[in-house]
């Protein structure tokens, strides 16, 4: 089944490269790599379409894995980088550093985004775990929602008062994978890769953790260590994604649920499947976003939110059995 999903991902990427405002025949997609001839088509493919598809794929994969890890850690079915405020924290830090400190450049952005993700994630986790019952789904969701509101309104305030920022506003409001180049992806790639590696290495321990803190400790797991590493992984994955694509919502919620439905509860399988399906859905959503308001493009973040919310509502209705 993993092979089928990989195949679908490959097809989606090829489609994403070929279709858009200008449709390009598949044959010339191939030619642009084998016989590059500086034609407009080849230029479009090399400079915009390919980076865009690859960014969508890697961001989708990262967010989905981050969501899956967070859902185990918090034992909350609606945890994800976007609902728990990690994305909006990273976004706010980027906007703040550009507007107030004049920082620019992808490398710096990545670090700032990672710090933002860590700060906001830390606050939400702390708030979510205070109280007698420890970390409950409702508390952590509410904490996440309020931190999201907090950071989002600060971000909007900064953007509205700083005229220079306004043309970049949209990226930092909803997240988009359009208009990026390869260099940006290359800068964040190492962080994504490290995050992904940590997550995959943790998979075995996450299986144990999923049974509950008490059971995990009883089985001899050092839960604090595992949670710390899991937190590092999510922050790397989410922060790097935000640095390159802005806050894209709901991929982190939907995918892990679909995957659990497909492959069961073994995180050694859930994580790789999440990565592949996350990449698939974001590439597909990005492809769809080009057709909704032709010839203009809707940012992919809007697409994922519209797809994701019915799902979110479904999970929120179903939940509460815990």
């Amino acid at each position: 089944m993993l092979v089928i999903s990989l195949l679908m991902l490959a097809i989606a990427i090829v489609c994403s490269i070929a279709f858009g405002v200008t449709d390009i025949p598949i044959s010339s997609v191939w030619e642009s790599f084998t016989h590059y001839n500086m034609s407009t088509e080849h230029l479009i493919i090399r400079t915009t379409r390919v980076p865009r598809a690859l960014i969508a794929a890697s961001v989708g994969a990262c967010l989905a894995v981050a969501g899956a890890v967070m859902q185990v850690m918090t034992r909350n079915p609606i945890a994800s980088p976007s609902t728990l405020g990690v994305n909006s924290g990273a976004t706010f830090f980027i906007v703040m550093s550009t507007s107030l400190l004049g920082i620019s450049g992808m490398g710096a952005f990545t670090w700032v985004a990672l710090i933002g993700a860590a700060v906001s994630g830390g606050i939400v986790f702390t708030l979510g775990s205070i109280g007698r019952d420890g970390m409950t789904p409702v508390k952590i969701t509410l904490a996440g929602a309020s931190m999201t509101a907090f950071f989002a309104s600060l971000t909007q305030g900064l953007m509205l008062t700083d005229g220079k920022m306004f043309d970049q506003v949209l990226v930092w409001l909803v997240g988009s994978v359009a208009g990026r180049d390869m260099a940006q992806l290359q800068t964040v790639w190492p962080y994504m890769a490290v995050g992904m590696l940590i997550a995959l290495l943790l998979a075995r321990h996450l299986n144990v953790l999923a049974m509950g803190d008490d059971v995990a400790q009883g089985l001899g797991q050092r839960t604090a260590h595992i949670k710390l590493f899991a937190a590092i992984a999510t922050i790397l994955l989410a922060g790097a994604s935000v640095a390159v694509a802005g806050p894209i919502a709901f991929v982190g919620i939907i995918i892990p649920h679909i995957v659990r439905y497909l492959v069961g509860n073994d995180y050694r399988w859930i994580l790789p499947y999440s990565a592949v399906l996350g990449a698939l859905i974001l590439v597909a959503a990005d492809l769809g976003s080009r057709y909704i308001a032709m010839p203009k493009e809707v940012p992919v973040g809007v697409m994922t939110a519209i797809i994701g919310v019915p799902f979110f509502v479904y999970i929120a209705r179903k939940g509460r059995r815990t």
Binding site: V138, A149, S153, Q156, F166, L170, A305, I306
Partner: protein, 348 residues
């Protein structure tokens, strides 16, 4: 001498318990509001002394000050008061009816629905239909959102927690749709809508804003006050309330409608100013207890006060920038929400 006085109409359709303490608190807050209004009117790029402001209001000020106060500052101050009051009351009703301290028009996504209604109005009818109809669009959006929220969280009755979770999800969707319109529209509308979505009362005028909002507030606030006994009984819980002879569902629907209408009309003018509906009722309950007859006036005044101060800070502290007031209320409000969450940490 009794601590209470009760106001009751002959057929008991209307009855309110008034605590002496409430009267004092209301009076003090009222005076505080007036003082802040006077000071706030005076502060800006042209400083006018409070006395000068009073003179200008009664039409005897110096010509220059007269124009600034009358045309520029006063409408903004009045609108801040009205919006603050309506949002606070809308929140107070919701908290009473949903029986959850964390409920408010913004947390449940009703404000987002209203701002989507208003954004759609701007994009579809921009300029062709009088702006006086915008509250209707916003209220429509808010009502639709409230209805959707209620239906989607209905599962053998509406459970407050599910309501909030569904609200969080819905508001994300609505926000995304608003962004979609903002992005696909012309840039000038985009900037206007974005300011609107973060909530700002910049550049208000008598004719366009105050006269549009005033009728709604003037009608809805008294109606709400007359409903005070029904809110009180709702707060007891469904079983007790129906045992006491209230037709719970009907009243709840009407009360939610009132709350949504208040929030919607406020959002139509001021945009999605966040967290006032959450903060003001809590402070009010701290001050005067939980009887809705007292909570309503006190939270209305507190809401007005919060927005007045936030707007004053928004337009003076960051000079020459004019930050949307909603950013400031969110900056105060989110920590407050966290504090509430902390206070209720053992409840969820």
């Amino acid at each position: 001498m009794s601590k209470y006085r009760s106001l009751r109409s002959a057929n008991s359709k209307f009855s309110i318990l008034i605590e002496k303490r409430t009267l004092w608190v209301t009076l003090i807050l009222f005076i505080l509001c007036i003082v802040v209004m006077l000071i706030s009117t005076g502060i800006g790029s042209l400083y006018i002394s409070p006395l000068g402001v009073i003179k200008a209001i009664f039409g005897r000020g110096e010509p220059m000050e007269q124009v600034v106060v009358e045309k520029l500052r006063l409408p903004r101050i009045v609108i801040a008061t009205l919006i603050g009051a309506s949002l606070a009351v809308a929140g107070a009703i919701l908290q009473g009816v949903i029986r959850n301290p964390l409920a408010s028009p913004d947390v449940t996504g009703i404000t987002e629905g209203a701002s989507l209604g208003a954004v759609l109005f701007m994009f579809i009818f921009g300029g062709t239909v009088s702006i006086h109809w915008m509250p209707l669009a916003a209220i429509g959006g808010a009502l639709l959102m409230a209805a959707l929220l209620y239906i989607l969280s209905w599962k053998h009755g509406v459970e407050p927690l599910r309501l909030i979770l569904v609200g969080i999800g819905l508001s994300a969707a609505v926000k995304a749709i608003s962004y979609m319109f903002i992005i696909s529209g012309p840039l000038i509308l985009a900037q206007r809508s974005l300011v609107f979505m973060s909530g700002s009362i910049y550049g208000t005028s008598w004719d366009k804003d105050v006269l549009t909002l005033l009728p709604w507030v003037a009608i809805l606030l008294p109606i709400t006050w007359l409903q005070a006994r029904n809110v009180n009984i709702q707060a007891l819980g469904d079983d007790v309330a129906s045992g006491a002879g209230a037709s719970v569902q009907k009243q709840r629907l009407f009360l939610i409608f009132l709350s949504v209408a208040l929030a919607g009309s406020a959002v139509a003018i001021g945009g999605a100013i966040a967290f006032i509906g959450l903060m003001a009722p809590h402070m009010a309950r701290k001050l005067v207890g939980s009887s809705f007859g007292s909570v309503l006036p006190v939270s209305a005044l507190l809401g007005a006060l919060i927005l007045l101060v936030a707007d004053l800070a928004a337009r003076t502290v960051f000079l020459p920038r004019d930050v949307p007031a909603g950013v400031l209320t969110a900056a105060i409000g989110a920590p407050f929400f966290i504090y509430l969450l902390y206070r209720n940490r053992n409840r969820y």
